[in-house]
C-alpha cells in the first residue's frame, strides 16, 4: 500500500523538478569555473617554474598536495560504506542516500588522480608509470586501485540509475530535445523487462561485492605510501585500518553535508527526512569511535616506549609546534562529535551539519598532520640549509593549486546531481508502494 500522500506523480515531480537550467545553477557553475581558472593559472606557474613555487623542499618534500591527495582518497571511500556495506547487511533506510554517496565517491576518486599529478615534478612523464610499471612500488598499486575503484563507483552510480533515466526521458517533457536524446541513449533501451531487471540486479550485486575490497585497497595502499618507510610517525603496522576508519569519518561527514544542501536547495525534505540525519548521526558516532580506537593505538603505543625518533615526533605533535592543530583535530574533529552524536537532539539536520563541517575541516588537517610533521624531524640532523628548507610553510600558489581539486569535486557533484535525480526514483517509488511506472 502506498504511504500516505505519496503518488507516482508526486514522487516523479519532486525528484526531477531540479533537472533544469535555472539561474542559481548557472551562477554557481560560473563562480566555480572562474575560481577554477584562477587556480589553473597558479598551476601553469608551477608547470613553468617547477615545484619550487610550492613551499615543499628537500626535507619536507611531501606537503599540502599529498595531504590533499590522502584527504580525497579518504572521502571517496564513503561510497563503499553506504551502498555496499550498509546495503548488503540489509539497511533499508539508505536508499535515498546511495546516489549522493556514489556521486561523492566518483567525484573524489576521479579528482584524487588529478591531485597526485599536481604533486609530480614531471607531470608530462605520467605515462612512465605505465610504461615502466614497477610491480614492487606502492605507487603502481595505488594508481591501479584508484582507477579501478573509480570505474567501479561510476558503474555503481550508473547501473541503478538506468531505470530513472528511462523515466525522465519519458516523463520530464520540459527538457530540451537534445537533453532527452542524451537520457534516451543513457537509458539503454530500458523497458522494465524481467530480462533487463535480472541483468541489472546481478551486475549491481557483483559491483557491491567487488567494491568492498577495492575501497579497502585504495586507502590501505595509500597508507602504505607512508607505512613502508622507516620514519617515526609513519612506521606503523596499523596504518591501513587507521586510514580506512579515518576515511569513513570524513566520508560520512561529507555525505551529511551534501544531504543537508540538497534537501534544502532541491526541496527534498520529504525524502531526506530527520530519520536519515538521525541514522547518519549514529553512523558518524560509530565510525568515529572506531577511529578513536585506532588513534589511541597509534599514539599510546609509541608514546609508551618513546624511542628516540618517536619521542621527538610525539613531543612536537602533543606539546610542541603542531600541538594546537593536533588538539583541535583530536578534540574538535573526533571527541566532541562522538559526544554530541550520543544525543538525539544533535542528530537533527542543522546541528549535525554544523558538526559535519567541523569534522570535515578537522579531517583535512588530520591528513596534514599525518603527512608533514614526520618529515620535519628525520633520523639525522638537518643542517647547513636555508631557513625555508627547515620548516614547511605553504605558499599562495600552492594553496591555490590545492583549492582547485575542491572546486573540481564541487563541479562534478553539482553536474551529476543536477542532471540526474539526487534520490533514486524507481527505488523510492517501489519502497513507498505507489503504482509502478509503466514503460510503454
Amino acid at each position: 500500500m502506498a504511504e500516505k500522500d505519496f503518488t507516482l506523480e508526486k514522487i516523479t515531480g519532486d525528484l526531477t523538478h531540479h533537472i533544469r537550467l535555472n539561474k542559481g545553477f548557472l551562477a554557481w557553475m560560473g563562480f566555480l569555473t572562474i575560481s577554477l581558472l584562477v587556480c589553473l593559472y597558479a598551476y601553469s606557474l608551477q608547470l613553468k617554474n617547477g615545484l619550487g613555487v610550492a613551499g615543499i623542499r628537500d626535507y619536507v618534500s611531501w606537503g599540502m598536495y599529498l595531504s590533499n591527495f590522502v584527504f580525497f582518497v579518504a572521502s571517496s571511500l564513503i561510497g563503499m560504506l553506504i551502498s555496499a556495506f550498509l546495503g548488503l547487511i540489509g539497511m533499508k533506510w539508505i536508499t535515498p542516500l546511495t546516489r549522493i554517496a556514489e556521486t561523492i565517491a566518483v567525484a573524489f576518486a576521479a579528482v584524487a588522480g588529478l591531485v597526485i599529478v599536481s604533486d609530480m615534478g614531471r607531470p608530462e612523464r605520467l605515462a612512465n608509470v605505465f610504461i615502466y610499471a614497477r610491480f614492487q612500488s606502492p605507487i603502481l598499486w595505488d594508481v591501479t586501485v584508484i582507477t579501478t575503484y573509480f570505474v567501479l563507483s561510476l558503474l555503481l552510480l550508473f547501473l541503478p540509475m538506468i531505470a530513472d533515466l528511462a523515466i525522465i526521458q519519458r516523463k520530464v517533457t520540459t527538457l530540451p530535445a537534445w537533453l532527452r536524446t542524451v537520457y534516451k541513449v543513457l537509458s539503454l533501451n530500458y523497458r522494465d523487462t524481467p530480462e533487463q531487471n535480472r541483468i541489472i540486479h546481478r551486475s549491481i550485486r557483483i559491483l557491491l561485492i567487488l567494491i568492498i575490497p577495492a575501497a579497502l585497497s585504495i586507502h590501505t595502499v595509500t597508507s602504505w605510501l607512508f607505512a613502508v618507510t622507516s620514519r617515526a610517525g609513519w612506521d606503523s603496522t596499523i596504518f591501513g585500518p587507521y586510514f580506512v576508519s579515518g576515511a569513513f569519518v570524513a566520508g560520512t561527514a561529507a555525505v551529511i553535508l551534501a544531504m543537508f544542501f540538497f534537501r534544502k536547495n532541491y526541496k527534498l525534505s520529504d525524502y531526506l527526512t530527520d530519520l536519515h540525519f538521525n541514522n547518519m548521526g549514529k553512523v558518524l558516532a560509530t565510525v568515529s569511535l572506531v577511529y578513536l580506537y585506532f588513534n589511541l593505538n597509534e599514539f599510546l603505543v609509541p608514546g609508551y616506549k618513546l624511542k628516540r625518533a618517536d619521542a621527538v615526533h610525539l613531543h612536537e605533535l602533543l606539546a610542541g609546534k603542531d600541538a594546537l592543530l593536533f588538539w583541535f583535530v583530536q578534540i574538535g574533529g573526533l571527541l566532541l562529535p562522538i559526544l554530541f552524536m550520543l544525543f538525539r537532539r544533535f542528530r537533527k539536520p542543522v546541528p549535525i551539519t554544523i558538526i559535519a563541517v567541523a569534522v570535515l575541516i578537522a579531517a583535512w588537517f588530520k591528513r596534514y598532520l599525518i603527512v608533514i610533521p614526520t618529515q620535519e624531524h628525520p633520523f639525522l640532523p638537518i643542517q647547513h640549509i636555508p631557513e625555508n628548507f627547515l620548516h614547511y610553510t605553504p605558499t599562495l600558489t600552492e594553496t591555490l593549486i590545492s583549492i582547485a581539486p575542491f572546486l573540481l569535486v564541487l563541479i562534478i557533484i553539482t553536474l551529476i546531481l543536477k542532471f540526474f535525480p539526487v534520490i533514486p526514483l524507481q527505488e523510492t517509488a517501489k519502497e513507498k508502494g505507489v503504482e509502478p511506472f509503466i514503460f510503454d
Binding site: R57, D58, M120, V129, F130, Q136, T229, H384, P386, F389
Partner: protein, 322 residues
C-alpha cells in the same frame, strides 16, 4: 587516471563483444589470465636467459688491450653515442666490483672541501648536498663530532624499492643511481630514505643555461634536470677511469677511503695510501649508520675516537636563499 595500463593490454581485445555465449566468454577470460601471467614472468626469464648466455664464448680485445672472453649473446655492435651510451654504461655498472667507502670520523674537521668539490662536479646549488657534513652529538654526555654523510648506497635500498618507474636503481657494483630522464618527480624515494640523502631540483638547476644541449650523463647527473631527484653517485663516472670520487680526492684531512670490497682494499683520498678494508674496519671499530634498519649500507664509519682535530662549533655556514 588513464586505464591503458601496459601490463593489461589483453583487455583491449576483450572489450569487443565477440560472442554472446557465456561459455566462450569465460574461456576467453581464462585465456587472458594465463597469457598475462605468462607475459609478466617472461621478462624475468629473458633476464635469466641473458645471464646464462648461449654458452658460446668469443675472445675479444678490449680498449685497454686485454683479451676477454665474452658470451656471444652479450656482443653488441658498439654504435651507441652520447646519452644512449651513457645510459647503457650507467645501467650496466662495472662487473665484478662492489664499491665501498670508509669515513674516518677522527680525521674530519669540517673543512667542507668534499662538499664544494661535489657540488662543482654535479652542478649543484650551495644548498643542494649530495654529501654534507653534520655536527653530531649522540647523547648529551658524549662528545660532539663532525660526520660527513652522503648516500649510503644500501644493499637493501628503501628508496629503490618504492620507485614506480625504475628511475632509481641499484647496479651490480653496488651503486644506487638515479636516471633524471625517467624520474617522474614523485619524491617517494626522498620520503623512504632514512639518511635524508636525496635532494630535488625544485627550481631551474644552477647551470641550466650553460648545460643546455649537453648529453645527459646518468653517472654524473649532469645536466641536472628540473623536477627530478638527484643524489650522490659515488662518482660513478670517475670510477670508470680508475679515479677516486670527487669528494674523496678533495679531502685535505685523510677522512675518506674508497675501494672495492671484492678486492678487500680501500685507498685514502688524501694520502693515496692503499690499505686492506677488512683490517681497517677490524682495527678501528668500523660501523655503519643505523644498521638496525636493515638497509645494509656500503658506507662504513670509523668512530671519532682520538680525534686529530678538536670539535670547533663553527657557525653554520648557511647559504642564503637561492
Amino acid at each position: 587516471m588513464e586505464e591503458n595500463d601496459p601490463i593489461r593490454p589483453q583487455q583491449e581485445s576483450e572489450k569487443s563483444p565477440s560472442s554472446r555465449r557465456d561459455f566462450l566468454k569465460n574461456l576467453g577470460l581464462a585465456g587472458v589470465c594465463v597469457a598475462a601471467g605468462g607475459a609478466a614472468l617472461y621478462s624475468g626469464h629473458i633476464f635469466e636467459a641473458k645471464k646464462e648466455g648461449s654458452g658460446e664464448q668469443r675472445v675479444l680485445l678490449t680498449q685497454d688491450g686485454k683479451l676477454v672472453k665474452v658470451d656471444s649473446l652479450e656482443i653488441k655492435a658498439h654504435e651507441k653515442t652520447g646519452t644512449e651510451q651513457y645510459q647503457y654504461l650507467g645501467r650496466e655498472g662495472i662487473a665484478g666490483r662492489r664499491w665501498v667507502m670508509v669515513v674516518d670520523l677522527s680525521h674530519c674537521r669540517n673543512a667542507r672541501r668534499c662538499i664544494t668539490a661535489c657540488q662543482e662536479a654535479h652542478h649543484l646549488r650551495p644548498e643542494q648536498y649530495h654529501i654534507n657534513t653534520l655536527q653530531m652529538q649522540d647523547t648529551p654526555n658524549t662528545a660532539p663530532y663532525h660526520m660527513p654523510k652522503n648516500c649510503q648506497h644500501c644493499d637493501n635500498p628503501p628508496c629503490v624499492s618504492v620507485c614506480p618507474v625504475d628511475a632509481t636503481y641499484k647496479r651490480q657494483d653496488g651503486i644506487v643511481l638515479i636516471d633524471n630522464e625517467r624520474c617522474i618527480g614523485c619524491r617517494f624515494c626522498i620520503a623512504a630514505c632514512p639518511y635524508s640523502a636525496r635532494i630535488f631540483n625544485w627550481i631551474e638547476p644552477k647551470d641550466a643555461a650553460q648545460d643546455e644541449g649537453l648529453d645527459y650523463n646518468v653517472e654524473l647527473n649532469v645536466p641536472q634536470k628540473l623536477g627530478t631527484v638527484s643524489k650522490c653517485l659515488f662518482s660513478a663516472d670517475r670510477l670508470r677511469e680508475e679515479k677516486l670520487p670527487y669528494c674523496v680526492s678533495a679531502c685535505p684531512n685523510g677522512v675518506y677511503y674508497f675501494g672495492d670490497e671484492n678486492e678487500d682494499a680501500v685507498t685514502n683520498g688524501t694520502t693515496k695510501e692503499t690499505v686492506r678494508l677488512s683490517k681497517l674496519l677490524r682495527d678501528n671499530g668500523g660501523y655503519q649508520l643505523m644498521p638496525e634498519l636493515g638497509t645494509k649500507p656500503r658506507v662504513y664509519y670509523l668512530p671519532p675516537k682520538n680525534r686529530l682535530f678538536p670539535f670547533e662549533n663553527q657557525p653554520d655556514e648557511t647559504p642564503t636563499k637561492a
